[in-house]
């Protein structure tokens, strides 16, 4: 009895859910009518860290970019003539707060799409809500490779019907670093790691170590250190690393930790003998300035670099506008989270337009999700594809820091691009299993 009541209630209150929306879509298609395009603005919620440690390096640049892109889309006439009403929300407050907030955004505020989430924990908790609530969610910056992967390879895709990630996962950074090291430093034999002691650091090291062992089996892992997140004194770690005399040290440090580590290591003469390989080091030369050591290997979490020119014309033009406009607005060059934000909001725009062409009118959430599956579109860092597993795949750029007279901070030299197929696991295969299957 109770169950029955609840079911009725459920359907009653979830007017916009998959079931109802889907059946509405089906009827109008069957009648061959064009669906009218609503006049009201599209509500887009953008969730990023606006407070806390991840705000300055990721959240604020990401949020700035959402605003910049929404302005561009609105200036060009919106999406199918509908303007974007962008609402910035804070990702701080804990995972339970994010679950509640996302439910509110979809059920109460009835936003058209939720773009967001920098923390892997937020993504893991929130993305299942897409199917539960019948709302479209596009994760834009979180790195965990577990998000879209199943428990065992091969696994079924997609994991979430209405949940997407418009970027590649942390696998590409660490695989690209390993490939770069193999190509450019084939003679090294000692590697160490310093990664933050939580899922992000552990996962990054796991992928890097697995790839390294496969690519250069002769290399010894001489030291793996796990400083806590938000560490302020790295001197003991730096001495320990120097003592183990590695040739290259892998690190996924981010934000204040990455900057503090660099500054303290510089003072201790660390960089005279040892080279760092940062999986997400792209924002920090600009943050630290001239003091940032030269000769460090840096990965850009994709090809997200302001000096990179994509091969195709559409992307190259976007890159020119993106870098120029961002610098004009915010006085900085865009860092990788900015590119990720662009990818998320434009993934939505292109998918709506693609779906609208197919159905003739404003598409339902399911139709947008269908269009987003397998879509390819230009972005400032090149063509981006979102695969059938609802995860983006990207090429990956690695380079080495070098000071030039033109910029007040070291820029990347000896840049190399690893194509998407070389750094992303095939659909339905777990990244670690894929690396282990390399010949």
């Amino acid at each position: 009895m109770k169950k029955e009541v609840s079911r009725r209630k459920f359907l009653k209150y979830m007017g916009a859910t998959a079931l109802t929306a889907g059946s509405l879509g089906a009827t109008s298609k069957a009648l061959g009518q064009a669906k009218p395009i609503p006049k009201d603005p599209i509500k887009i919620a953008a969730v990023s860290f606006l407070t806390g440690a991840a705000a300055a390096p990721f959240g604020i640049p990401g949020d700035n970019t959402y605003k910049m892109c929404a302005d561009k889309i609105n200036a060009e006439g919106g999406i199918l003539g509908r303007k974007i009403d962008l609402q910035s929300k804070d990702e701080a407050g804990g995972v339970d707060a994010q679950v509640k907030l996302c439910r509110k955004l979809i059920l109460e505020d009835k936003v058209d799409v939720v773009l967001g989430y920098i923390s892997s924990a937020s993504c893991l908790a929130v993305l299942p809500l897409a199917d539960e609530l019948g709302g479209l969610i596009v994760a834009y910056d979180c790195g965990t490779h577990e998000l879209m992967e199943g428990a065992k390879s091969p696994y079924d895709v997609p994991k979430f019907k209405l949940g997407f990630r418009s970027k590649a996962h942390l696998g590409i950074d660490n695989i690209a670093l390993a490939l770069y090291i193999k190509k450019n430093y084939p003679k090294i034999n000692k590697i160490a790691g310093i990664n933050q002691d939580y899922a992000w650091g552990r996962d990054s090291w796991l992928i890097f170590e697995t790839a390294m062992k496969k690519l250069m089996p002769q290399v010894q892992m001489v030291k793996t250190l796990w400083p806590p997140l938000g560490n302020t004194d790295f001197t003991a770690h730096i001495s320990a690393l120097m003592g183990s005399e590695p040739d290259i040290v892998h690190s996924s440090l981010w934000g204040g930790d990455a900057v503090t580590f660099s500054k303290q290591a510089l003072g201790m003469g660390f960089f005279k003998k040892i080279r760092m390989a940062y999986s997400r080091g792209e924002p920090y030369p600009q943050e630290v300035g001239k003091d940032y050591p030269e000769g460090q290997i840096i990965c850009c979490a994709g090809t997200h670099y302001f000096l990179y020119t994509p091969k195709d014309k559409a992307s190259a033009d976007l890159q020119k506008w993106f870098v120029g406009e961002y610098q004009k607005r915010y006085g900085k060059y865009p860092s990788y989270p900015c590119y990720h934000a662009f990818q998320a909001i434009f993934a939505y725009k292109h998918s709506v337009e693609k779906a609208a062409k197919a159905v003739g009118g404003w598409p339902t959430i399911e139709e947008i999700a269908k269009a987003m599956t397998g879509i390819t579109f230009p972005t400032p860092s090149g063509m981006l594809t979102i695969r059938e597993d609802h995860n983006g795949i990207e090429d990956c750029l690695v380079g080495i820091t070098k000071l030039t007279p033109k910029y007040p901070f070291p820029i990347l030299d000896k840049m190399e691009i690893f194509p998407a197929a070389q750094v992303n696991a095939p659909i339905g295969m777990k990244t670690v299993d894929w690396i282990n299957s390399w010949k």
Partner: protein
């Protein structure tokens, strides 16, 4: 108080009316508000447990997130490692058991001290659990946490049912049942001789000891009961939220438990319940409407401490006594 006493007491009439109203809440609230209200109910159970220590025994714990996490992780771990036992009638007793074990161990250390020393000890022990949950990431999921599927109940399976549907149906009534039982049990505890002994300890430890109360042992009992209630709240919360992370054992989360108890008023039995429900709405709507939501939460706390030291429920109770006085005088 016998049954007739209960009937005569207007308090119990109000309780019964509220209970009947609660039965009909799924028909009134939207699905979103109902899910939010369920967060409120789970925290109300937490608040009841927490207040046994703060309001009745006079011990302020900044580490009750640990017992909440114990309850929540019991569920998550069973779903990960013993999926065949993933049924509410096993999960809830298991959560109670593990939060009891944890609060016996932690409580044994904590109750040797009072005041700030007790608070700091409770905080550090909960951070110890946090460190474990955070570090043993292959087992616990670390900062990424663990996803929690829907459980079964007495052989009823909820496969193919989406979480909002589950939460607005069977689970709401289950939750309401658990809350009512917790409410009655806690009410019984605080009005029993044991509860009076705790209040005697709170008011004057030395005097309590002189009249023959074994102070430290009673404090431990209170601590364990409190931990179990919080663990139960944590376990029930897990299904509402769907995901657990190590943050639950962090002192910031424990701070939220303290906050909601202060918001409602720790001097009154119903205070923490009021506080838990209001806090749930306050935090979400502050987050949903402004980027400066932490300012709103902090500002509210300052206003609360300065203007309503007895919390919202306390203020209403105060008002009620004043009104009664005025009526009696005239």
């Amino acid at each position: 108080m016998g049954l007739t006493g209960m009937v005569k007491n207007p308090r119990w009439i109000v309780y019964s009316l509220i209970f009947i109203a609660l039965l009909f809440i799924p028909r009134i609230l939207s699905i979103h508000d109902l899910m939010l209200f369920e967060y409120g109910i789970t925290f109300a159970i937490v608040g009841l447990g927490f207040n046994l220590l703060l309001g009745y025994t006079g011990l302020l714990s900044f580490g009750h997130g640990a017992y909440f996490a114990a309850g929540a992780y019991t569920i998550a771990m069973i779903s990960k490692y013993f999926p065949q036992a993933y049924s509410l009638e096993i999960l809830i007793p298991a959560a109670l058991f593990f939060s009891m074990v944890l609060s016996i161990i932690f409580g044994f250390v904590c109750v040797r001290h009072t005041k700030i020393f007790f608070s700091i000890l409770a905080l550090s022990l909960s951070m110890l659990l946090f460190a474990l949950l955070f570090k043993l990431y292959h087992i616990t999921g670390g900062s990424d946490g663990l996803r929690v599927p829907l459980p079964t109940l007495l052989g009823m399976s909820f496969k193919g049912i989406r979480r909002p549907e589950f939460l607005s149906g069977t689970y709401y009534y289950f939750l309401l049942g658990m809350f009512s039982v917790s409410f009655l049990v806690m009410k019984g505890i605080v009005s029993s001789p044991f509860g009076k002994a705790l209040q005697a300890i709170r008011d004057n430890e030395v005097r309590a000891e002189l009249i023959g109360i074994r102070v430290r042992r009673y404090r431990l009992y209170a601590f364990v009961i409190s931990g179990m209630f919080v663990g139960l709240g944590g376990a029930l919360w897990t299904f509402v939220n769907g995901h657990v992370t190590a943050d639950l054992s962090h002192w910031v989360f424990s701070g939220e438990i303290v906050y909601m108890t202060l918001l409602g008023g720790f001097g009154i039995f119903e205070g923490p319940i009021v506080g838990a429900i209001i806090f749930t709405y306050l935090k979400l709507y502050a987050m949903g409407n402004t980027q400066y939501w932490m300012f709103v939460i902090g500002g509210t706390l300052i206003v609360l401490v300065l203007l309503l030291p007895n919390g919202i429920a306390g203020a209403f109770a105060g008002l009620w006594t004043k009104i009664k006085k005025v009526i009696e005088e005239t």
